[in-house]
């Protein structure tokens, strides 16, 4: 168990170096010039050159990268070009909203996805099943900006139930969380349905039924516990995705999270922020999967960590 954890953390460290390297290359070869961006349109070439030197962008690639990596190892993510503050501080300030939105979105996904998946699996081929799978398919195929804007229009503009955007109260959380949750629930319902169908056909379900226990207990206790395993792995993946991928929904709803920060940083070619956000997302993906792996043995005792 401890060896497993140590191994995983070692892998994670290597992965972070890899991610930082690739992102760094991509940003280096980008035609956009952060120095020019910072200096503004009317700046003289001399001013731009001075800024470039100040930022160390005139140095060769390997020097720039090694300096970044050296600082990173010491826990220093650098300073933002535009905000003149530590990247770590900027990112840390954006974490709570993103974590809150992520947790709320996953709760919505699970409530909708698991319920629909289980009910559909109990009556495969029924009208409910067919309808649920069509709706799930629409959900996973709808772009987030379409879903988000639709939600805004109906529930904020027309019905005025929720604020149009912002952050702070539970009412602000509802629309972005429901948008992410409803659109993502389709993955869960489809996976839950197929996993549940598979489990319900196994021999031990017949054994449980033959004991004369209520059918709801057969489904909820005996089948669900077995069927939920792939869902746990999926939650782990979702944690990583939402940390990095809620960009669109955060922008639509003006949610001050990591995604919005990334969006702004990209527009301003604020390389240290982009690097910081990318690394946080990579850490989140690793952590999400690690947590899923650590939880799995508690659900299925046959799984042992080596």
């Amino acid at each position: 168990m401890i060896r497993h954890l140590a191994g995983r953390l070692g892998q994670a460290a290597l992965l972070l170096v890899g991610v930082s390297f690739i992102t760094f290359i991509l940003l280096y070869i980008l035609p956009a010039d952060p120095a020019r961006q910072l200096a503004g349109r009317s700046a003289t070439p001399e001013t731009v050159e001075t800024i470039r030197q100040q930022l160390g962008l005139d140095r060769p690639f390997h020097e720039q990268y090694l300096r970044y990596l050296g600082n990173l190892v010491q826990g220093d993510l650098g300073r933002s070009y535009t905000q003149k503050t530590e990247v770590a501080e900027v990112v840390a300030a954006r974490l709570p909203p993103t974590l809150l939105l992520m947790a709320a979105a996953i709760v919505v996904e699970l409530m909708i996805g698991l319920t629909i998946g289980v009910l559909a699996a109990l009556r495969p081929g029924s009208r409910f099943d067919q309808g649920a799978m069509i709706v799930s398919f629409i959900g996973v195929s709808t772009p987030q900006f379409v879903g988000g804007i639709l939600m805004l229009y109906v529930f904020s503009v027309q019905l005025d139930w929720f604020p149009v955007g912002g952050y702070g109260t539970f009412r602000h959380l509802v629309l972005p969380a429901v948008t992410l949750g409803v659109l993502g629930a389709g993955w869960y319902s489809r996976m839950m349905r197929s996993s549940m169908l598979d489990v319900l056909a196994r021999d031990f379900i017949r054994t449980a039924r033959a004991k004369g226990i209520p059918e709801t207990r057969v489904v909820v206790v005996h089948a669900l516990r077995n069927a939920v395993l792939p869902v746990i792995a999926m939650i782990g993946i979702d944690v990583g995705l939402f940390m990095s991928g809620a960009v669109i929904v955060e922008s639509v709803f003006g949610w001050p999270g990591i995604g919005q920060l990334a969006w702004q940083a990209i527009q301003q070619v604020d390389i240290p922020i982009i690097m910081g956000v990318t690394l946080v997302a990579a850490v989140a993906i690793v952590l999400g999967n690690l947590i899923a792996d650590l939880v799995a043995p508690f659900v299925d005792p046959r799984i042992r960590l080596r």
Binding site: F204, R206, T207, R209, K211, G212, I213, E215, D300, R302
Partner: protein
């Protein structure tokens, strides 16, 4: 052991599968009964309908895809085929116990043995925790599981196949059922374990007095373990008799061929083992005549025209126009 008053009696059971134009009768006109402390073997090839017959008769065959088209299945004086699901569920596990074929897949892998046994008992009794544990311990000891306290905390994958089948037997019998359904309970086990499990079932039957419906394709097991036997072919019972009579003088040509194709220690090894040519006709392709006629060496024109009825003979009953003569 035998009893005049059967505890479980199935009459004229008919089952079909599928819907609409693809609906096909798979079991037709099947009748049998089991007495207290008696074992009835139901034998036949794969796909002859033996498991479907037995599971449908106690309501455990999922429907759809199967439908019971007619007949009755009486446990005491209740017809199981006409009971609502809730009432059936009260009988499963309490008056009807079931042991399934594959012990490796018949226990839930994510729950402890203890939880799965407790659940079986708790579903039908109002015992205190202490009484329940005592009963579970006694039952595990009775089925030959040592160190039961430790086993209760273990998960199925930590137990061998033989132990798992003992756990499943304990689970089926923990409420003291009148009827035990054993659906090929030894097929997935190796030969030495088979003998142990059969001996255990026999002892438990003699002790607890339940009737056993024993589904198998293994005539050797039938000879060792059963009192009476019903031979099924293509969804019908073609012959039923006491085990000694059936093995001594099979009357239906199918039974005769089946026995002839079973290897014996004293058979002449220079002669190849006889086989039954052809295939069991699929459910949709069963004509008006005897379903075995196409493969039968004794078939006459009448066999293809009309299906023979099951008629009672001296030692049992058989459905054949031209039975094998008694030697």
């Amino acid at each position: 052991m035998n009893s005049e008053l059967p505890i479980f009696r199935v009459d004229d059971l008919a089952i079909s599968f599928g819907g609409g134009t693809r609906r096909a009768r798979v079991v037709d006109g099947v009748s049998f009964h089991v007495g207290r402390g008696e074992t009835l073997g139901i034998v036949g090839e794969s796909g002859c309908g033996k498991s479907v017959t037995v599971m449908s008769s106690v309501g455990l065959q999922p429907s759809p895809p199967s439908h019971v088209d007619g007949g009755s299945a009486r446990l005491g004086d209740v017809d199981l085929l006409r009971l609502p699901p809730k009432a059936l569920r009260r009988l499963w596990g309490s008056r009807i116990g079931v042991v399934f074929q594959d012990p490796m897949t018949s226990l839930n892998p994510v729950f402890t043995i203890g939880m799965q046994l407790r659940e079986a008992l708790a579903a039908h009794t109002n015992l205190t925790d202490a009484e329940r544990e005592a009963r579970i311990m006694a039952m595990l000891a009775r089925v030959g599981i040592n160190a039961p306290e430790r086993r209760l905390r273990q998960y199925p994958h930590e137990l061998s196949g033989g132990l798992r089948q003992r756990v499943l037997i304990a689970m089926a019998l923990i409420c003291g059922p009148e009827l035990l359904i054993a659906d090929e309970p030894t097929t997935a086990l190796d030969v030495t374990l088979q003998a142990q499990i059969l001996a255990l079932l026999r002892d438990l039957r003699d002790e607890m007095g339940m009737g056993i419906l024993f589904v198998t394709h293994d005539l050797g097991v039938v000879a060792q373990f059963c009192d009476r036997v019903a031979v099924m072919y293509a969804g019908r019972i073609v012959e039923s008799a006491r085990v000694d009579a059936l093995f001594r003088a099979p009357r239906h040509p199918y039974t005769h061929a089946l026995l002839a194709s079973t290897p014996r220690l004293d058979s002449d090894r220079s002669v190849p083992l006889p086989t039954i040519d052809g295939m069991v006709p699929p459910p949709g392709a069963r004509g008006a005549g005897c379903s075995f006629a196409a493969r039968c060496s004794r078939a006459q024109p009448i066999c293809l025209a009309t299906a023979p009825a099951l008629v009672a003979g001296q030692d049992g009953a058989f459905a054949c126009h031209h039975p094998v003569p008694v030697p």
